[in-house]
């Protein structure tokens, strides 16, 4: 009996000691071996709140605001902290369905249980105000202030571009970005992303389980302040841009205007455009889809992405190159021999100036023949190769067939097409082609593709009598000139400045002399030089183009207007260009009737095919 009791006493003692040893082993595991709980503790009580910097504002060249920021609030969730709550009240507050609530939460949970995800984007100030008061009831939720882009005037969408949420690939390429961040997707927003975005900061907050903030962690020792993005002054003139967009309404095409002395782009229109406010906020997705599927392609930036045959404006560089190469002089005349190419009735083109004025097709075919076939080889084919090669060097010095270094993302800018030897070899085979194969290139038809930006740059080259500065859209950042030497360097063409005079005078005559093709481009008190083009379009009505600069001496503006399917260049493109010139140089439009007529004209539904 005594024995049994002693035995049982020690059994009980052993059991108690074993239990305590198990507890100690368990504590050893939890507190020393296993560090997942330390991690859990950090996630629990510390909350990293990203301090989003205000994105840089964008102004026009006169300091008018183009883009600003508006505060919105992203509702964030840490799924691991969400507990049972009044879902209905919550959904009513932020105006979503219970179904969406579940979906959003599930999505966040898949992303991470302990890291915050965006639960609902871009709550308005009003919604935020109502929610904030009751947020304490909804454990695991908090609000992250963000900014959205806003546009005081619904213009220049293609230039400004839009911002959107980063995708996985962007996050992988640049560790700066985290899921839910915004990034410039196109236009200036994308090209100058690193200037505009600023630098994110981080604030570490202590929070309790009821989602109440308990102040900053270690008095903000580990916090970093955000650095606001740099404000940008663009080269655009908002008033001219606005007028240009107005003039282009109901038309497909582009207007690009450049200040020749600086390469600053004054106006950059692609029509049809869209209100940039459409691609902001919660409506962005739906609107983007609508714009993206619109048959008129409003998202497509025609000014720098659409390659057109330039038509007769191409006669300008053709004449210049021919004079430079010495195959013609400014006094050379050619008969209007329509056996190989059509023309329109006009006085004889007895010299270069007259040829430009009347835009005689046979004249420039003959000129281009001399450029290509210079009898440097007995074989006509090899001779054409030599000629085409030299011509390529010259024509490319005008920025054609090359990517102009404009400050827009690569995806928004095309190079255009200038046919090379290799091009025709590939097309026809070596030594099977000569001048007659591509005769139409003489007058800017056939295998030539030029973007409207390059057309405007051509006008700037002529205005400068021989050089251009890379056209660009950013003027200053935080009042400092854009520090890119590309935007101050003069790119000289291969053509000597002295050859420009007859062409400039031809462009003058086209506007002011009887029989000129661009007489509708006249502006009171300003000497405008211009050249029309009418691009034959095998698919429908001709495209109209017009390049011009003004004033003739000391030009302040060079412009190209391209209107699809509108017919003769002098009828529509020239007057629209003249209105833009008038607006830019005089700040007002005296020819209200003409302006009204242009605005009301609609080519949108003329044959586009």
């Amino acid at each position: 009996m005594r024995n049994q009791q002693a035995q049982r006493q020690s059994q009980i003692t052993t059991m108690i000691v074993v239990v305590f040893l198990i507890f100690i082993a368990r504590l050893f595991y939890l507190q020393i071996m296993d560090d997942t709980s330390t991690k859990g503790a950090t996630d629990n009580a510390l909350r990293n709140v990203t301090q989003y910097p205000a994105r840089g504002l964008i102004y026009d060249r006169n300091g008018e605001l183009l883009v600003y920021n508006e505060a919105v609030y992203d509702l964030m969730v840490i799924p691991g902290q969400v507990v049972e709550m009044d879902t209905l009240e919550f959904c009513t507050l932020i105006d979503i369905s219970i179904d969406d609530f579940r979906k959003n939460l599930e999505k966040a949970r898949r992303h991470s249980r302990f890291a915050p995800s965006i639960f609902e984007r871009q709550l308005s100030k009003e919604t935020y105000g109502q929610l904030q008061e009751r947020l304490f009831k909804f454990r695991g939720f908090y609000v992250q202030p963000r900014t959205l882009r806003k546009y005081p005037r619904p213009i220049a969408a293609h230039v400004l571009g839009y911002i959107g949420e980063v995708n996985d690939e962007m996050i992988e390429n640049d560790p700066y970005y985290k899921s839910g961040d915004y990034i410039g997707m196109s236009g200036l927003e994308r090209f100058y992303e690193e200037f505009l975005r600023g630098q994110k900061g981080n604030k570490i907050l202590l929070v309790d389980v009821h989602n109440r903030e308990k102040g900053s962690f270690r008095n903000g020792l580990y916090d970093t302040a955000s650095v606001p993005g740099m404000s940008m002054q663009s080269t655009l003139d908002i008033e001219v841009q606005e007028l240009a967009e107005l003039l282009m309404q109901g038309k497909r095409g582009s207007i690009v205007a450049i200040e020749p002395a600086t390469g600053e782009i004054l106006t950059f229109v692609s029509s049809p455009g869209y209100d940039p406010n459409l691609l902001v906020g919660r409506v962005r997705g739906a609107n983007f889809h609508k714009l993206n599927t619109d048959p008129q392609k409003p998202l497509f930036n025609r000014a720098s992405q659409a390659e057109y045959p330039p038509g007769s404006i191409f006669k300008i560089p053709q004449g210049l190159i021919a004079m430079q190469q010495g195959v013609v002089s400014e006094h050379t005349g050619f008969a209007c021999d329509q056996s190989q190419v059509g023309c329109h009735p006009h006085p004889p083109a007895y010299n270069m100036r007259a040829a430009v004025k009347v835009s005689c097709n046979p004249y420039f075919v003959a000129t281009f023949r001399r450029i290509i076939q210079q009898n440097k080889d007995r074989s006509v084919f090899i001779d054409a190769r030599i000629g085409l090669e030299q011509w390529n060097k010259d024509i490319r010095s005008f920025g054609f067939g090359e990517r102009l270094g404009i400050d827009l993302p690569d995806a928004n800018v095309r190079r255009g097409l200038i046919p090379t030897v290799a091009f025709y070899d590939r097309w026809y085979g070596e030594n099977t082609w000569g001048f007659s194969t591509f005769r139409s290139v003489s007058i800017g038809q056939g295998e030539v593709g030029i973007i409207p930006l390059q057309m405007a740059n051509l006008a700037a080259i002529v205005a400068n009598r021989g050089y251009y500065i890379t056209p660009h859209l950013a003027r200053t950042f935080e009042d400092t000139l854009v520090p890119t030497k590309d935007f101050v360097e003069k790119h000289h063409t291969t053509v000597d400045p002295k050859h420009f005079e007859p062409v400039v005078w031809g462009m003058y005559d086209a506007v002011y002399e009887p029989g000129g093709t661009a007489r509708r481009a006249q502006v009171d008190g300003i000497v405008v030089c211009g050249k029309t083009g009418t691009v034959q379009n095998p698919h429908g009505r001709n495209h109209a183009t017009f390049v011009a600069f003004a004033p003739m001496d000391e030009p302040k503006i060079a412009i190209a207007v391209f209107i699809e399917n509108s017919g003769f260049g002098g009828t529509w493109a020239a007057p629209i260009a003249s209105l833009v010139i008038e607006k830019y140089l005089t700040r007002e439009i005296k020819r209200k009737e003409l302006m009204q007529q242009m605005i009301e004209t609609n080519f949108m539904h003329t044959a586009a095919h």
Partner: protein, 417 residues
């Protein structure tokens, strides 16, 4: 024992010391757990730590009173106390206040009394009294049966509140019975029943049947294959299978939240937001303490209310988080020494009542520590019972003080016999 020799004469200094350390440590940890910068004084009576201070003072008064009365008082009034606690347990079912679904509290003025806490003390008294009476022996079935009635009658009443945790504590008395000679087979049967019950929870009924069948087969294989042995093995199988079926049936009858708790514990369900939340948060808090802890009042998990019930059932989290592994071991060791010391002292009592009572104290304390710490560190299901001397709450602290000091008094008086 004479009054003029002072009430502290012959009392065991170790027990008093550990008691005082635990009570004060508990108070400091409650302060840390519910610490609020707006009420930063530990004496602020509007806060739990302020109230706990009053409870501690009250506890000391109770301790002194117990030491002052004659030791025979509690022996003689054991059944009276038992009867009184039964009355209170019945009363609470009628007039009790319902707090979080449990009708466990009797509101008296500003304080609320939890009869279940005192029922443990009273039952211990009654059991000691009964087992020490002449003619009562663990060799006799009637005595065993009577002991079980004494133990489980209040337990059933508590279960009706329903307060599963407090009711379970009464199982601790099995240890006392075992020490007093309860046949081992009864304990083994109980143990087997628990194992089968766990298997039922984890596995489908038919797999449990197969396991029981294999066990029966093994039993027949090992023993002599007499008709009697085989027949009793098969009978055993039938009883076990019946029990298994019955426990499945009973489990289905449990409240859903209790089923959940058990399921989460055995790993059948992972639900970190619901029932698992408590335990997960508690493990995070303890785990984040590391070796030396974050320092007093530096805990982020407990202070910011991530751990539920952090001042009551989960108070050990604060220890784990702020004092780390070392602090946890110190507190655990204090409990271990306290329990073993009580057992040691109990064994040297010449008075049978005092010995059995002492074992009861050790068993109750052990069971509380086992269930409470086991729950907090995620080894046992979430069963809400307080950590003795540590958790916030007047009833619990006073009841444990009473429980302990009655034994200290018995021990101090043993020389008088």
């Amino acid at each position: 024992m004479r009054e003029d020799k002072g009430f502290l004469k012959n009392v065991d200094g170790w027990l008093i010391l550990i008691y005082l350390i635990l009570v004060v440590a508990g108070w400091l940890n409650i302060y840390a757990a519910v610490y609020d910068e707006n009420h930063s004084s530990i004496f602020d009576l509007s806060q739990r730590y302020g109230k706990q201070m009053l409870f501690v003072i009250g506890g000391l008064v109770i301790a002194i009173l117990v030491l002052l009365v004659d030791m025979r008082f509690f022996m003689n009034t054991a059944y009276l106390f038992y009867g009184l606690s039964i009355v209170l347990l019945l009363a609470v079912l009628v007039i009790g206040t319902i707090v979080s679904g449990q009708q466990a509290w009797i509101q008296i003025g500003g304080f609320s009394l939890q009869p279940a806490e005192f029922a443990k003390f009273a039952t211990n008294l009654a059991l000691a009294k009964y087992l020490s009476s002449s003619g009562v022996s663990m060799k006799r079935m009637s005595s065993i049966l009577m002991s079980f009635i004494v133990i489980f009658f209040p337990a059933v009443l508590i279960l009706l509140q329903p307060d599963t945790g407090s009711a379970l504590v009464f199982a601790a008395f099995i240890l006392v019975l075992y020490r007093e000679g309860l046949p081992a087979w009864i304990v083994w049967t109980g143990f087997a029943a628990i194992v089968i019950f766990m298997l039922d929870l984890l596995l489908p009924f038919w797999i449990v049947l197969i396991i029981l069948g294999l066990g029966t087969g093994a039993l027949i294989f090992i023993n002599k294959k007499t008709f009697k042995n085989i027949a009793s093995a098969i009978l055993l199988f039938a009883v076990a299978a019946g029990f298994s079926y019955g426990s499945n049936y009973l489990f289905d009858k449990l409240e859903p939240h209790q089923q959940d708790r058990i399921n989460v514990l055995i790993g059948k369900e992972v639900d970190l937001q619901g029932v698992g939340y408590n335990v997960n948060q508690s493990k995070i808090a303890i785990g984040s303490g590391g070796v030396i802890g974050k320092g007093y009042l530096q805990g982020t998990q407990t202070k910011f209310n991530f751990v539920p019930e952090q001042a009551t059932d989960f108070i050990f989290c604060t220890v784990g988080e702020e004092w780390g592994f070392i602090g946890s071991i110190v507190i655990l060791s204090l409990f271990l020494v306290l329990i073993l010391r009580i057992m040691l002292l109990a064994e040297r009592q010449r008075n049978e009542f005092a010995r059995i009572y002492g074992y009861g104290v050790a068993a109750i304390l052990f069971f509380h520590v086992l269930v409470n710490i086991g729950m907090v560190i995620g080894l046992l299901p979430v069963i809400g019972i307080p950590l003795p001397f540590f958790s916030y709450g007047g009833s619990s602290l006073w009841a444990f003080t009473l429980l302990l000091f009655v034994f200290i008094k018995q021990d101090a008086s043993r020389i008088a016999f």
